[in-house]
Symmetry: C2
Subunit: 433 residues, 2 copies
């Protein structure tokens, strides 16, 4: 049995779980692979910090060069997050020929070009299974299992925080801020949850998945992003009445050579399997031209599930380093020309849910539907609710047929300027097969 020495950059929740997994299950991994992965050094900011997982203090260092310049360390796991100095550390490790495993979706989605080019060019190993979907093997599935398929569509529920909040709102009638507080209390939301709530975290993830699906690097700034910060309990209740559940989706679609890469909250038909993805669970619903529809579901965050993904990459890295394996499958390449295939949101077509808060007067519905008609937006169903206690206006809820986003923006802008319509018009897209 051979030992393989590993360096960890960062020792937070995930780093500690990786250390724990390698201590508990190393023998088990060795039995299957013939190699014993051993943590040799851990780069931390503070040696003396209290930590959940006990660690031999001799393993800890505040100098990353003790890992990067140690030739015995063949695999570097970057679990510290952030862009600087993380990017420099990863590039240095790669340039020294080490295999790198990272959970850093933000770095790859925002600045992946340089790292992906380097690993493609020098045939190095870069594992990033842990960067998307925690323990769910979505990267492996996209890269390897679906290699024979043209990917038509990925629909992901990729952020546990927002899914937890929406589930609590929708199933237990909590309002947004109550649900957020509970998520924070349970450790499913950060103290500053804005990256999650605004959809940024989901956009990082779909940027990487879309890059794998379509085989060119789609940076984060090409993703259309809308979060759940404007979703109200009232809309979830109306959605339910129409037979829908609201989820924050991250989507990547291919339609006639054009690509749509987007994050937005959406109404999903109750019977759809994606509505079974509740609380802090994540899922990826994928359509390939041969495989048909497929779903991967599991815990998308947390130390232990993410450690499971990191260790699966560590074993791949060992294969790469010890057997001469050079994966045939390329990392996404930057290709300016292909970026033009990304369809601007204004040109994308959706069905919509609208909620107008209108003064309860005759003729209001006719005015609203007149403007929609003028812009060629066709109404599929409408519900006008009677006057409610404590509100000066009544909600009018509509579902539309498929129509272009650009037209909808214009029409809603016009409608919101009507005297009889108050406040912002709510617009939620509808997901259908």
């Amino acid at each position: 049995m051979r030992k393989i020495k590993i360096g960890l950059l960062g020792f937070g929740t995930v780093g500690q779980a990786v250390h724990e997994l390698l201590l508990e299950n190393a023998k088990y991994i060795a039995e299957r692979t013939g190699f014993l992965p051993v943590v040799e050094k851990i780069f931390v900011r503070y040696v003396k910090k209290k930590r959940r997982v006990a660690v031999d203090p001799k393993l800890l260092t505040t100098d990353p060069n003790e890992i990067l310049e140690n030739e015995d360390i063949r695999i570097v796991c970057e679990l510290m997050g952030g862009v600087h100095p993380t990017e420099e550390l990863i590039l240095t490790a790669l340039e020294k020929g080490k295999a790198v495993v990272t959970a850093n979706k933000a770095l790859l989605a925002e600045r992946g070009e340089k790292i992906f080019s380097l690993v493609n060019e020098k045939k190095l190993y870069l594992g990033f299974e842990a960067s998307v979907g925690g323990g769910i093997p979505i990267i492996k599935t996209m890269k390897e299992a679906l290699i024979g398929n043209k990917i038509k569509r990925i629909v992901g529920i990729v952020n546990g925080t927002t899914n937890y909040i929406l589930t609590q709102m929708s199933e237990n009638g909590m309002d947004f801020s109550q649900a957020l507080r509970l998520a924070q209390k349970k450790g499913f939301a950060e103290a500053d949850p804005s990256l999650d709530l605004k959809g940024i975290d989901s956009a990082h993830k779909i940027s990487l998945l879309a890059s794998l699906a379509f085989n060119f690097f789609i940076p984060f700034n090409k993703v259309y992003v809308e979060g759940i910060d404007k979703v109200e309990l009232l809309d979830l209740e109306f959605a339910r009445q129409f037979g829908y559940v609201v989820k924050l989706l991250a989507l990547a679609k291919e339609k006639k050579g054009k690509h749509e890469i987007m994050v937005y909250p959406a109404l999903i038909p109750e019977k759809h399997i994606l509505t079974s993805v509740r609380f802090n669970y994540n899922a990826f619903y994928i359509e390939g031209d041969f495989v048909g529809n497929m779903l991967l579901y599991g815990l998308g965050a947390g130390g232990a599930p993410t450690a499971s993904a990191v260790v699966s990459d560590i074993v791949e890295a060992i294969e790469h380093l010890t057997t001469g394996k050079k994966s045939l499958i390329n990392y996404p390449k930057f290709d300016e020309k292909r970026l033009e295939s990304i369809r601007p949101i204004e040109e994308c077509e959706f069905r919509y849910y609208f909620r107008f808060q209108a003064v309860d007067k005759p003729g209001v519905l006719s005015k609203i539907s007149g403007i929609l008609g003028k812009h060629g937006i066709s109404i599929a169903s409408v519900v006008q609710i009677g006057r409610q206690k404590g509100r000066g206006t009544v909600p009018i809820v509509m579902l539309t047929h498929e129509t272009k986003e650009g037209l909808v923006v214009k029409a809603l802008d016009e409608i919101s300027q009507l005297d009889v319509v108050q406040g912002e018009v709510k617009k939620i897209r509808i997901f259908e097969e």
Copy 2:
């Protein structure tokens, strides 16, 4: 770009779909891997048969040696099924150093020992993703993605035929034979569906998955098997009243060093994600000590999804052949000693659903519950239904607490001998987290 020549053994539904996939998506695969997989020769029984997919007649041969003895053919895909001469053909291909891809679950589960030993010993490539779960990458997930986990449990809905039938019965009120006929009409059941209905197909699949999960070869004959041929519509309706849905499950569990490998129909709580697996879909619900609970869902059969799996193995085989990659991860080894860890069904514990058809007389319930009590079986809930038209007996339905199978068999045997109980007692196990 380099060409890689492939030979197909068998050209039925799956073989034709593989050929079709490689024609349609080869360029796409080549773009990602640098290799163009090309079908060079196809072994068929009849050259002149009508087929869905058009094929150049020059590719067809009735002599398998045109594939096995052609040194240019590096990869052999066995898609003909059966045990003879399939096993001999696979062994010959392996001995000649070819990579082999197979969809043959029955062969591997019943006689895998010889094939697995050979590939382990000579570090050859054997891909069998297509043998379980159609396009769902369950083999890759078990072998690679979850390598860091101790697998606690796999719960699979792995047979589309039985799942289709149970879904039609449960959701549309069909009886068993109606649902079977519809499944046959739609192509989801074979003309002779007995391997599916009796749970044999599911048992082949769980034998392979359990072997990967627990790292020793668990042959098919070690799997406890019960099919759905005795499930009645009435039981599905009672199950629903208690808040359960009935599915045919294939299970592999580890409990304190003992293993339980079984196939049986089970009551699943309505809210469980496995109940979202409907009609001809398959799913694998897996628990690992680090990854937590995970689900993979998709089309478990059919030409196109299975071709997707075959082609993912073809790309792995190309890696193996061209980059010197020798996967570190072993194929399951035969280990007589470890087979003793499989717990006999009599010693396994379950909760149960019972249905007794009893004469509608005072004292019956007391007699039945008396016998159960004597054997230490504790009742969780009981429903006795009033007299029904056309039946001389009334159903008494009970759910029990957890109890040993061996005790249940004895108690039910005793109960079925009561004068007041008629016909066979129905016993369905309950699945709970």
